[in-house]
C-alpha cells in the first residue's frame, strides 16, 4: 500500500499553446490536457496579426476541446488600458459565455471584474503578474480567489519547490519554449524602443517595428531604427527580439543580455512532479501548428513516462532530437531552474 502510494505521483496537466484553431486541434490530438488561447485583440499577451481567435473560431475550438475531455484556458493577461478598460470586461464576459474552463489574468482590475461578475469562473494568475514568491501568490489567492499561479521563469528549481510548499494555490511552470530572461510583466524594454510592450499592447519587439536591411557585412535587423543585431551571410538569423541582440559593452560585442536559446525542463521533470506542480506550460502561441503538435507529443510521452516510473525516468534521445528541431538558436537550457551562471 505504502509502496503504491509512493509510486502514485500527481500527474501535472500538459498545457499547450493554441495561436489558431489548427494548433488547438493538433495540440489536443497530440495529448494536451489543456490549451490556452486568446482573442484577436490587445487583451492577451500574444497580440500578433494572423494569430488568435475570433468568436466563431473560439466556439469551434471550445467544442472540439470539450468533446475530447480537454480544457480551454483563455488568456486575458495584459493590463486593461486606462482609455478603455471596458474592452477587458467584455473579453471576460465573452470567455465566460464561450465556456472557458479558466481565465488567465494578470491585472488586478481584470481579476476583480471576473471575481465579481463571474464568481463560478476559475481564475489562473498569469505569469505577467510577476508573482515570484508564495507571499505574492497568496495575495492574489486571498483577494481574488485565484486557484492557480503560473510562475515567472526566474526561479531556481529549489525556489520553485519552496513556493509549492508554502501556498495552497496550484502551481504551473513553463516546460518548454522561448525564454524571457526578464521577469515577465515587469519589462518595458520593448516600449522603450518601439512604444509597445507586453503590458500595454500584448506584444514584445512587434513585427511592425522590425526592418531587415542589406549591409556590406551581411544583413542588419533593426527595431524602430535601433540596430539589434547583424548577421554574416552564412550566419543563422534570429528574430530581433530586443533582449536577444548583440550589443557593445565596454568595447566588447556580445549577447549582453541573453543568447537566443530555448527553455527545456525535461531533465528536471521528476523533481517538478515531486513538488506536486499542477501543470506544465508549453510556450509558443506565435509558433506554427507543427511546432505545437510535435512539442506536445514529446511532452505527453515524457509526463506519462515520468508519472508511471518517476524513479526510473530518463530523458529519451528521440525527445531531445525532436525538441531540438524547434528550439531557438538550436540550443536548450534549463534556464533559471539550474543556474549555470549562478
Amino acid at each position: 500500500m505504502s509502496e503504491r502510494r509512493e509510486a502514485a505521483v500527481r500527474k501535472p496537466h500538459l498545457v499547450c499553446p493554441a495561436g489558431s484553431l489548427r494548433a488547438l486541434k493538433l495540440a489536443i490530438d497530440a495529448g494536451a490536457d489543456a490549451v490556452y488561447m486568446g482573442l484577436k485583440d490587445a487583451t492577451n499577451a500574444r497580440n500578433f496579426a494572423g494569430l488568435n481567435f475570433d468568436l466563431a473560431q473560439a466556439r469551434e475550438g471550445m467544442a472540439y476541446a470539450h468533446a475530447r475531455g480537454a480544457q480551454v484556458l483563455m488568456a486575458l493577461n495584459t493590463y486593461a488600458d486606462a482609455r478603455e478598460p471596458e474592452r477587458w470586461w467584455r473579453a471576460v464576459d465573452t470567455a465566460a459565455e464561450l465556456g472557458a474552463d479558466a481565465l488567465i489574468c494578470a491585472d488586478t482590475a481584470v481579476l476583480a471584474y471576473a471575481r465579481d461578475h463571474h464568481p463560478q469562473l476559475r481564475l489562473h494568475l498569469s505569469v505577467q503578474a510577476s508573482a515570484t514568491t508564495y507571499e505574492a501568490i497568496e495575495f492574489y489567492r486571498e483577494r481574488y480567489g485565484i486557484q492557480r499561479a503560473v510562475l515567472p521563469r526566474v526561479l531556481t528549481l529549489s525556489q520553485v519547490g519552496h513556493v509549492c510548499r508554502h501556498t495552497s494555490a496550484e502551481i504551473e511552470v513553463f516546460g518548454f519554449g522561448s525564454l524571457c530572461v526578464m521577469v515577465e510583466g515587469r519589462c518595458a524594454l520593448s516600449s522603450y524602443a518601439t512604444g509597445q510592450s507586453p503590458n500595454t499592447a500584448g506584444v514584445c519587439s512587434p513585427p511592425a517595428a522590425v526592418r531587415w536591411e542589406d549591409a556590406p557585412e551581411g544583413v542588419r535587423a533593426r527595431l524602430n531604427g535601433v540596430l539589434i543585431d547583424s548577421y554574416a551571410p552564412d550566419e543563422p538569423r534570429g528574430y530581433p527580439t530586443l533582449c536577444k541582440g548583440r550589443f557593445h559593452v565596454e568595447g566588447v560585442r556580445d549577447y549582453a543580455l541573453e543568447e537566443p536559446t530555448s527553455l527545456n525542463t525535461l531533465a528536471v521533470l521528476p523533481q517538478l512532479m515531486e513538488f506536486g506542480i499542477s501543470a506544465i506550460k508549453i510556450e509558443g502561441r506565435q509558433r506554427s501548428p507543427a511546432y505545437v503538435e510535435q512539442v506536445t507529443r514529446v511532452w505527453r510521452a515524457a509526463i506519462d513516462h515520468c508519472a508511471a516510473q518517476p524513479a526510473r525516468f530518463a530523458v529519451q534521445p528521440q525527445w531531445v532530437a525532436a525538441l531540438g528541431r524547434w528550439s531557438e538558436g538550436q540550443q536548450h537550457t534549463l534556464g533559471a531552474y539550474n543556474r549555470p551562471w549562478r
Partner: protein, 309 residues
C-alpha cells in the same frame, strides 16, 4: 498660484560605497527635496549599508525636515528576500513603498506607497490598490501622462488609505535613467564572465551603471546588475502644464552620481519658482550622461524619443 509640486528623491538604484551614499544624502538633506526614498531595491547581495545604517540615515533626514519612505525590493526570489521585505514593512515609523505583491500583502490595511513596479495601468486597478490602503501612487514608467490623468484624475482622485478617505497622490518619474526591466540574472556579472554568487560586486565600479550601445555606437541601455535601464535620461522638466493636468503632485528624480544637486535645483526652480524650463533643460542637457535626455513615454511614444528639437 499653483500648489507646490513636491520633489521625491527616488531610491539610489546603483551600488555606491557607503561613504558616497552618506555624502550624497548629506547633500540631499540641504536640498529642496521634500521626500527621500531609502533602501536597496535592486539586488539583495549589495551590502554596503546595514539595516541600522539606513535607519540612522532616515532619522537624520527626518530631523532635517525630509519625509522618509522605505522601499521594498522589486524582485523577490528567496526566503531571505522575503525576510528583508518583512523587516522593512514591519517598521511603522516611516511610510513604506511596495515593490511587489508580496509587500502588498504585508502592507494591506496600512497607509503605504505603490511603487513604480506594481502594475497599475487603469483607474479600476488603482481602486483595487486603494482598497488596500495606498495613499500615493508612483505610476509605471511606461505609462503616458494622458493615461496617468485617466487613472487618477485631479478633479476626481481615487480615495485610499485605511479609512478610504485620503485622495491618492500621483507621483511621476520625471528624471533619470528609466528602470525598464528586472531579471534573475545579473548582467554586470555576465559581462565580466562571473557567476552571480561570486560576482565580486563589480557593479560598484559603475556609479551610473554600465552603458550598453548598439553596434553602431548608439547608447541604448544601461546594465545595473539584475536591472536594465534606459541609456537616455528621462526628463520631464518641460512638462509642467501636462504634469499638473495629469494630476501629478509629486515628481520622482532618480539619483545620478554627478550633478544631482543641480537636477534638484533645476526642477525646484521650474516647478515651484517660475523658472524657465528651456534654460533648465539646457543646463540638464549639459550634465547629461551618454544617451542624452528623452521623454517619449510621457507622450505615448517610444521611450527613447524626445519631443523637443
Amino acid at each position: 498660484m499653483n500648489p507646490r509640486i513636491r520633489l521625491t528623491v527616488g531610491p539610489v538604484l546603483y551600488y555606491w560605497p557607503r561613504k558616497t551614499l552618506i555624502e550624497f544624502y548629506g547633500a540631499v538633506a540641504d536640498s529642496p527635496a521634500d521626500t527621500v526614498v531609502l533602501g536597496e531595491v535592486v539586488c539583495s547581495r549589495r551590502h554596503e549599508m546595514k539595516p541600522e545604517d539606513w535607519l540612522s540615515l532616515a532619522h537624520d533626514l527626518a530631523a532635517c525636515g525630509k519625509e522618509v519612505v522605505f522601499a521594498s525590493q522589486a524582485l523577490l526570489e528567496s526566503e531571505s528576500d522575503l525576510r528583508e521585505m518583512r523587516r522593512i514593512t514591519a517598521q511603522e515609523t516611516y511610510l513604506v513603498e511596495a515593490g511587489d505583491a508580496s509587500a502588498l500583502r504585508a502592507l494591506a490595511g496600512r497607509p503605504f506607497v505603490l511603487g513604480p513596479h506594481v502594475n497599475v495601468y487603469s483607474r479600476p486597478a488603482l481602486l483595487e490598490h486603494a482598497a488596500l490602503g495606498a495613499v500615493r501612487w508612483v505610476a509605471p514608467v511606461e505609462l503616458s501622462l494622458d493615461a496617468i490623468g485617466r487613472v487618477n484624475p485631479p478633479q476626481a482622485p481615487v480615495s485610499g488609505g485605511p479609512q478610504a478617505d485620503t485622495p491618492i497622490a500621483t507621483e511621476v518619474f520625471a528624471f533619470g535613467r528609466l528602470p525598464l526591466a528586472f531579471s534573475a540574472r545579473c548582467f554586470t556579472a555576465r559581462h565580466y564572465h562571473l557567476n552571480k554568487d561570486e560576482c565580486g560586486f563589480r557593479c560598484i565600479e559603475h556609479p551610473d551603471g554600465l552603458l550598453l550601445a548598439t553596434s553602431e555606437g548608439e547608447p541604448f541601455l544601461t546594465l545595473n546588475g539584475i536591472q536594465t535601464q534606459s541609456a537616455g535620461q528621462h526628463c520631464l522638466i518641460g512638462e509642467a502644464a501636462a504634469l499638473r493636468e495629469a494630476g501629478a503632485t509629486r515628481l520622482r528624480l532618480s539619483p545620478t552620481a554627478q550633478g544631482f544637486g543641480e537636477v534638484l535645483a533645476c526642477f525646484d526652480k521650474v516647478f515651484n519658482h517660475g523658472g524657465d524650463a528651456g534654460e533648465a533643460r539646457a543646463a540638464l542637457e549639459a550634465l547629461s550622461l551618454p544617451g542624452g535626455l528623452v521623454d517619449g513615454f510621457a507622450h505615448r511614444r517610444p521611450g527613447l524619443e524626445r519631443s523637443w528639437t
